[in-house]
């Protein structure tokens, strides 16, 4: 039994090591980093964080990312809700083909879409806006949201719908006041996944922005390439990108396992 709990413990240790190193680096001075190896920061400094939190190009990177991620999550979940309801409750001509076609977009390599997306969003005048990135991320987040919500909705017995109709509920009223509360954990999980994949994606968000909507990921690449030894700054910026994820994950911790199973357990 003791031996058994060692496996997850070792695994978590392995997961934490690179994260620890990133955080440790972010508190070191550039001199200390260049001077050689040290397991803990010798002289603690908050300089790297101060620089990020006072320089608009840095902190706007975070704000931009949070803006388009939020927009994307709202759009994806809103449009996926009725669609997932249709897939879980009705059969209609072409439903299976449509469902698979949606999933194919989750399979498309982002690299394939980088250049055409740039041209498309430039042509419609959305280049370098938050909306462009939010819409582009719909490509893979909507199929995922539909898939997850459909899984959760199929777990709700159809009798619920039928009883509501017998009781004289109109469809919109039934959907909002009875059905949504019944699948609220599913909505939470779907929103979490949209947040997650939009937050971590970087190729498209970088391609579709220049100045106004530049995500934090792109700001970091600039630092990494222009000054190779600004490792402390890079580490601090990286550390700050972990925080939003850690916060959202805490809220969905009880549903996360079921969510990863896409509601199919």
């Amino acid at each position: 039994m003791r031996l058994k709990s060692l496996v997850p413990a070792l695994y978590i240790l392995f997961l934490m090591l690179p994260i620890y190193w990133l955080v440790a680096m972010s508190f070191k001075t550039t001199n200390e980093i260049l001077a050689g190896f040290s397991l803990f920061p010798q002289t603690w400094t908050f300089e790297n964080y101060t620089e990020i939190l006072t320089d608009p190009t840095w902190y706007w990177g975070y704000i931009n990312s949070i803006i388009y991620v939020t927009m994307n999550t709202v759009i994806s979940v809103m449009v996926a809700l009725p669609a997932a309801y249709a897939f879980s409750r009705y059969s209609f001509v072409g439903d299976k083909q449509l469902f698979f076609w949606l999933l194919t977009n989750r399979m498309a390599p982002a690299a394939v879409f980088a250049l055409p997306f740039f041209q498309l969003y430039s042509a419609v005048g959305l280049f370098d806006t938050h909306l462009a990135v939010a819409l582009a991320h719909c490509l893979f987040n909507i199929p995922l949201a539909v898939w997850i919500l459909e899984g959760f909705m199929s777990g709700v017995p159809k009798e619920l719908d039928e009883t509501a109709y017998v009781d004289g509920y109109s469809f919109p009223r039934f959907f909002v006041t009875i059905f949504l509360p019944a699948i609220k954990s599913g909505v939470g999980v779907a929103a979490f996944f949209c947040f997650m994949f939009s937050w971590v994606e970087m190729l498209l968000s970088k391609t579709l922005t220049a100045v106004e909507a530049k995500p934090i990921a792109a700001v970091m690449t600039r630092t990494a390439s222009s000054a190779g030894y600004e490792l402390g700054l890079l580490a601090a910026a990286g550390t700050l990108t972990i925080i939003p994820g850690a916060i959202v994950i805490y809220f969905v911790r009880n549903y996360i396992a079921k969510g990863f199973a896409l509601g199919r357990v």
Partner: protein, 288 residues
């Protein structure tokens, strides 16, 4: 039993419009480029299927494709068994469960370029934790910017670090859904641990594991940012996976024709393999 209702199309229309806008128009652009040649100034000439032939016969594409399959194969045979083993040894209830779930999910919520940058800092030969340990404590010569083998080991370990938790969480979700009565019955029959795994746990995990393999296949086959930030495809071309090569051709050399043809071939391969998995998965669903 589902009701037949054609008006359900209205429910899916918003999704259809948004995804079609994002998928069909760019896809048509790619198809357009793939059959034309351009010398700039927006002048295009019909090229037929020449680009496809050029890509399919080029050694560069074969090499990138080979590396891609090797990468995906290696991470699947490491992450899937490892993920199952960890899920099996996790506590079923108690205060440690949320702790395990949250810490394990954490790597998946880190932006992909940060993952690459983090591993870069972690493996620097003289000042990275892993690099220092390998070079100065173990006395090995480890430098992934010089040695292709070290670069490969590093990107594999990085992916295992990044994504094994996905398999763990899925397998765990399958395991906790097994009613206790199954285990009691197995105990009465005197079943061995292996028999419990083979005949109770594994069949119950089948659906979720198919999802895990499907997701891991798609995402590892399309991987770009993490290895690009970590190795840049090097040393030489040793870690140039398909997406990295594609972006090099499309945005680096601006060879739009070959890049577009390569995109379509690439997408077709992903689609075909994913379709195989998907078919298997729906077969499972129908049986249950």
């Amino acid at each position: 039993m589902k009701t037949q209702n054609q008006r359900a199309w209205w429910f899916v229309t918003p999704v259809l419009l948004l995804v079609a806008f994002n998928a069909l128009i760019p896809m048509m652009t790619v198809v357009n480029y793939s059959v034309q040649e351009t010398f700039g100034d927006n002048l295009f000439f019909w090229q037929g299927l020449d680009w496809f032939e050029q890509v399919l016969t080029s050694e560069r594409f074969h090499n990138a494709l080979g590396r891609q399959f090797l990468f995906t194969f290696l991470i699947l045979i490491i992450e899937v068994p490892l993920g199952i083993a960890i899920a099996l040894s996790m506590p079923k209830k108690g205060p440690w469960v949320p702790f395990c779930l949250v810490t394990m999910a954490l790597p998946m919520l880190i932006p992909w370029n940060v993952v690459g940058a983090m591993w870069n800092i972690f493996t620097l030969p003289d000042i990275g934790l892993l690099g220092y340990f390998m070079n100065h404590t173990l006395g090995l010569s480890y430098d992934m910017t010089q040695d292709p083998f070290a670069a490969w080991v590093t990107i594999i370990v990085m992916d295992v670090w990044h994504w094994t938790s996905l398999v763990v969480l899925l397998a765990y979700a399958g395991l906790v859904s097994i009613p206790n009565a199954y285990y009691q019955a197995a105990e009465i029959d005197g079943a061995s641990n292996w028999a419990v795994f083979r005949f109770i746990q594994l069949p119950k995990m089948k659906t979720v594991l198919t999802i895990a393999i499907l997701l891991r296949f798609m995402d590892s086959f399309n991987i770009y940012t993490e290895p690009f930030v970590l190795t840049g495809g090097g040393p030489g071309n040793s870690t140039t996976l398909l997406s990295i090569d594609l972006v090099k051709i499309a945005l680096g050399q601006f060879d739009l024709g070959p890049a577009a043809a390569m995109s379509l071939i690439y997408f077709a391969i992903t689609l075909f393999v994913s379709w195989l998995f998907y078919t298997l998965m729906t077969l499972n669903d129908n049986k249950n």
